[in-house]
């Protein structure tokens, strides 16, 4: 769920912009300049993937993918997620333009943490990678939901009820997200294990030069 315009206090929206601009700059610095166009193209793949609807009883949920993005992209994940959210806001009005910084923080920071978690604990067996991937996926969604609730709560007491409902709405998504991330990472581990290494890492990339 993305926060729309007019919900958050102005100080929070501007602060969100400032912090996420800083993080995006840090993220860009961790990537070789030459690889930035590649990150852009991959961002669109994540964007399309997040539009896939997963049936859940009578309704359906769409994926958030912060965990998976973190696991695959590493430090580039913050940049990719910021870019994807910008496009979502500009093209489809999911998430307001003024709330963009706050939205990027609540999705991007979990992605970075999950990326670190996955790269640290993934081990080398298929089973372990699948399980760690699933945990990372679920964890990413938990943190994104918590971030959303925290952001909403900056609006004051009046928003506590909304924050609780938003948290509750994420519970089924956490399970789905975890299972999907695990299976997807399992698939990639069998088909193209190279994708599970941190891509676009500056030291790794400069080794080619």
């Amino acid at each position: 769920m993305h926060i729309s315009d007019g919900v958050l206090p102005v100080a929070v929206t501007i602060g969100g912009y400032a912090v996420s601009a800083g993080l995006a700059a840090w993220s860009a610095r961790r990537i070789h300049n030459r690889d930035l166009p590649k990150v852009a193209v991959i961002t669109s793949a994540f964007f399309v993937a997040s539009l896939v609807h997963i049936p859940f009883g009578p309704t359906s949920a769409h994926l958030l993918l912060p965990g998976l993005a973190g696991a695959l992209l590493g430090p580039a994940a913050f940049l990719a997620i910021g870019l994807a959210l910008l496009l979502q806001s500009l093209l489809f009005q999911f998430g307001g333009l003024t709330a963009l910084g706050a939205n990027a923080l609540m999705m991007g920071i979990p992605a970075m943490i999950c990326g670190w978690f996955f790269q640290t604990f993934k081990g080398s067996t298929l089973k372990r990678q699948t399980i760690v991937g699933a945990v990372a996926g679920a964890m990413g969604t938990v943190m994104a939901a918590a971030g959303l609730a925290l952001m909403l709560m900056t609006g004051g007491e009046d928003f506590f009820g909304v924050a609780k409902i938003a948290l509750a709405a994420h519970v089924p998504v956490i399970v789905i997200e975890g299972v999907m991330s695990g299976f997807t990472i399992g698939f990639l581990a069998r088909v193209q294990p190279a994708l599970l290494e941190p891509l676009f890492h500056k030291t790794a990339a400069s080794a080619h030069d």
Binding site: G6, V10, P37, K38, Q93
Partner: protein, 308 residues
């Protein structure tokens, strides 16, 4: 006005209050969606990611089209923040009215505006339902109680708060089409880079926008293949596994494609920047438009402040 005021309403009002908006939403939303989707053939849409032809630029069809892109971005962004800071329903409604006027002036595509409004309804609808029921009661609030059901108390302050947010969000959302589709996307991004945003950021937006459609197409082809093999979505593990393989395949193909795209770009002489799509010149009309608009935003904030 320090006490909490109660308004008692007969119980039979409740189904009326719930059913009528629900029925209205159920009727209007699909209609809007259908209308937004079917009004034109998709191929007729102007694709604003295509760079402008040199001499065609700057002679747009409306006042907003002819506005210098840098002035437009700065003004609309500042104005959006001003609108987002409003606290009173009357001023949020005034901002919404102003946005509607701009929408009429700027002659943008109606169906795209409609799609944006439809996209907003989920979040705002949730706020409109949840906030009246969950806002804490303060002195001076007015509560509406339905008959003898004292667990269901609607706080009118919550209704006003949610309506204010909805009006602000709509007011800003309605400005997005005038902001974005009155100039080709490369021009907008060029304007951003001239404003000091790193060149690379704009290029990344442009590239991912382009490949968004490519990968959507790819995803659609893969879905068609799955359906041809008899796949249907259900709530079970097999569906999740199949969809996860689908995602994995999408990533594998897109990563491979990414490499090829980049090779092709380099083969055509890409050296880290695209050629600039146009010349930008600020004229006195641009400054005038910015001045008027900023004044409108300042007036909104000022009256909001006056109201306490």
């Amino acid at each position: 006005m320090t006490d909490v005021a109660y308004i008692s309403v007969p119980l039979w009002y409740l189904p009326l209050l719930v059913l009528i908006p629900a029925a209205a939403a159920a009727g209007v939303l699909p209609w809007l969606k259908r209308r937004a989707r079917t009004r034109t053939v998709p191929e007729n849409d102007p694709d604003w990611s295509i760079p402008p032809v040199a001499e065609g630029f700057g002679q747009g069809i409306s006042v907003i089209h002819r506005w210098d892109v840098r002035c437009k971005i700065v003004t609309l962004l500042a104005y959006s923040f001003a609108v987002a800071s409003l606290r009173h329903l009357s001023l949020a409604a005034a901002a919404l009215g102003l946005s509607l006027v701009v929408l009429l002036i700027s002659k943008v595509w109606f169906r795209k505006v409609m799609l944006r409004v439809v996209a907003l309804t989920g979040f705002l609808g949730m706020l409109l339902v949840v906030m009246p029921l969950t806002v804490p009661v303060h002195p001076g609030d007015t509560l509406v109680v339905f008959g003898s059901m004292d667990w269901l108390v609607v706080n009118l302050r919550g209704v006003v708060l949610a309506a204010t947010i909805a009006a602000k969000a709509m007011a800003i959302a309605l400005l997005m089409e005038p902001l974005l589709s009155t100039a080709p996307l490369p021009v907008t991004l060029y304007g951003l880079s001239r404003l000091g945003v790193p060149d690379m950021a704009g290029q990344m937006v442009l590239l991912s926008y382009r490949y968004l459609h490519v990968f959507t197409h790819e995803a659609r082809r893969m879905t068609a293949g799955m359906q041809a093999r008899g796949f249907a979505k259900k709530t079970d593990m097999d569906t999740l596994r199949a969809l996860a393989n689908f995602l994995g395949m999408l990533f594998v193909r897109s990563f491979e494609r990414t490499e090829r795209v980049f090779d092709a770009m380099q083969a055509r002489g890409y050296n880290g920047r695209f050629p600039s799509p146009c010349d930008l010149r600020i004229q006195w009309q641009d400054i005038l438009k910015t001045g008027i608009w900023v004044a409108a935003g300042a007036a909104l904030v000022f009256f909001d402040y006056l109201k306490g």
